[in-house]
Symmetry: C3
Subunit: 295 residues, 3 copies
């Protein structure tokens, strides 16, 4: 199946899609603030949101708010489906921006975790049909974005997993629930979440964490578009209601636990041993990057 013609549309403010006449202007003025690229195919109503915060699409408060806002705008527009992918051909997303979690004050940590919660809620509950096109490693928060979508197509030879416990962090309830909703069984979810299990693309397919492994980004995109197009426009409202009702218990669970999840995150990430680990980890990352730059 050939890709249909794409109409390129970039925007950074929440008014962009609601008012197309200003969207180009907004794009020009605020390009420097953007962490994503948005393409909307006016013919199919399918939006492709490409994470673009090099080098690892690390999620900070600003980039998560931008993703969330974009989804909310797409919901208000005529869009019917959303494909989430990465501009990098190596990393889908490395998860939360740990640099912004290191030696940070409580207000900043709160901002980053609340941005994650808000983004998650919007993505998990959106009436849009959502497909994650995982064209690179998807760790922790990156894996969460994929698991919260409705369908996952991954390229080969990458890693995916919720490895939160590796950093000394417990897995929050809504993250657990999203992962459990995606994989083939509660058993797999419990085992993986307690073990910070990281899968290869092929293993992830076996565990049900991804639905397909495609041979190229182009093929993956075709599959994603075909899936979204397979639903008749006439049925989309009923489809969205069915999705929301299926996910209702998890969403209710989230509301109930969101303050508790935040408290746990704040108290854990500020522990000396967790901060020490983050410091060491960031240093090793820096060393690796400067080595790569010299090479």
């Amino acid at each position: 199946m050939a890709m249909r013609r794409l109409h390129l549309l970039k925007f950074a403010s929440s008014s962009a899609l609601a008012n197309p006449s200003t969207s180009t202007r907004t794009f020009a003025n605020s390009a420097g603030q953007q962490f994503t690229t948005l393409n909307v195919d006016d013919k199919t109503g399918i939006a492709t949101l490409t994470l673009n915060r090099p080098p690892a699409n690390a999620l900070n408060a600003a980039s998560m708010s931008e993703i969330q806002r974009t989804i909310q705008d797409l919901e208000k527009s005529k869009c019917r489906g959303l494909i989430l992918t990465s501009a990098s051909d190596r990393i889908f997303s490395a998860g939360l921006d740990l640099k912004e979690c290191y030696q940070a004050d409580t207000a900043s940590l709160k901002a980053i975790f609340c941005a994650l919660q808000n983004l998650w809620h919007t993505l998990f509950a959106t009436p849009l049909t959502t497909v994650a096109l995982i064209n690179g490693h998807a760790m922790a928060g990156g894996c969460l974005l994929a698991a919260s979508s409705e369908y996952r197509i991954m390229l080969p030879n990458f890693k995916i997993g919720l490895n939160d416990t590796m950093a000394g962090l417990g897995v929050p309830m809504f993250v657990m629930d999203s992962y459990t909703n995606a994989v083939s069984s509660r058993r797999i979810a419990e085992r993986d979440l307690t073990a910070s299990r990281v899968y290869s693309s092929e293993e992830a397919l076996q565990a049900g964490l991804v639905d397909e492994v495609a041979t190229s980004k182009e093929q993956a995109l075709e599959k994603a578009v075909a899936l979204i197009n397979s639903f008749e426009p006439r049925t989309l409202t009923a489809r969205a209601k069915t999705k929301l009702l299926f996910r209702a218990e998890i969403l209710k669970n989230f509301e109930k636990n969101s303050q508790h999840d935040l408290d746990i995150f704040l108290s854990t990430i500020q522990r000396p041993e967790v901060q020490a680990y983050l410091g060491k980890y960031l240093q090793s990352l820096k060393n690796r990057q400067s080595k790569q730059a010299k090479a």
Copy 2:
């Protein structure tokens, strides 16, 4: 395994099984009102309830009430197991009677949905061991009857699925829960329910939606009887309690959501675009049937 001798017993009123001496009379007097046939094997205590409302075993308020009443009567009698099947060799059940949902007043729509809820509750919670012998297509409400039984044996080359969203209807909570309880994972349930996925018999086996595919109705019946017979009479009370407790959360969920489910059904089915779709669908069905009649 050979079928044991079946004692044929037909009845239409709730007093039939409780008072066998009147059952034959009732059968003679009210044969024209019946939508099902009931056979009870007095030796094994296994009842076979055959849906018999040609051409498609469409479920209207009256037929659903009859099925429900029959199950309740069987519970009061010495019966231990129930096999649910169809008199047609082509259709198990096409689901709700859409003719009765088209241009109907609110009271009639309410009656049909409440009859579905009541039948579902009785079937899902019955202490009887229940087996669906799916000897034809099982769509929407037909699939629900199968999914709410405890075991599903299907004949080859038929279709089964909860295709509610195709008619523009959201899937009610108790229907979701029954489907999720039957298939191999939440993941499969979410994907199928949002996609109105329809399986072939063979695909349904893979997805766990049916437990066995048999080569003939006779073989399927033998398997069903063997399964029900495999439970020692001494253990049936404990078995029924275990079944009820396993299903308790879904039943509680149903009680909590039943008014909401009804409201959603009423508001959705009365929408002009849904009624327009039903009108077209019923017309196409009529055309097809008159063509078949001429051929």
Copy 3:
């Protein structure tokens, strides 16, 4: 992988691990009261708790309290992991001690069921990484101990299952939940629990009830130690929190239902027909044992 040197430590009182200087003494004084053997590897922090109540590791109030107390003591010590196994090379555990349930007064029955509930709660919620090394048949309560652990390694040619309904007993909610949490799907759980399904080791692997089948106890022990060792000490707190949160809903469910579960157990086990079955069963067991003794 070779087993590391084991430091043998036996104790029977709750003060044993907290105060190592008294542990040897306690062992000598109370050896006759013990139903288990405990080995702790000081180097790895892995404890091996061996059920040792011949011939079948039947669980009575005293032995269950002992197991529970031991786990609680290990939690307070520097231990990180627990391997649960049997001294018998034929039976892991036959479940509740039915001799103590036969013609027993209500107080004794209450004591045995509460001891089961308390042991289950401690085992299911323990921050220790738990592995069941199932080196023999694991029936009813024996299967529950395995299912409540985090990982199950079984030796070939044994039987495992929750066959409660065979004795005329319904399956309590927390037992259902533990089983459902272990096997591959709700579907499998409902089918097995209502059918008192008993698996061979190999079938249990297929159903997800056990995670591995090992060729020998030695190999199984190596696998168990390797699994527990695979978690970095730095991550154990986060791991334990993640485990507890994953199991939180089941634990909450338990609190809510524990009085009801007890009431149901008491009323059911005291029924004349259930007592009659127990009497016959115990007599047949006695006959078999005296035959074996003569042979």
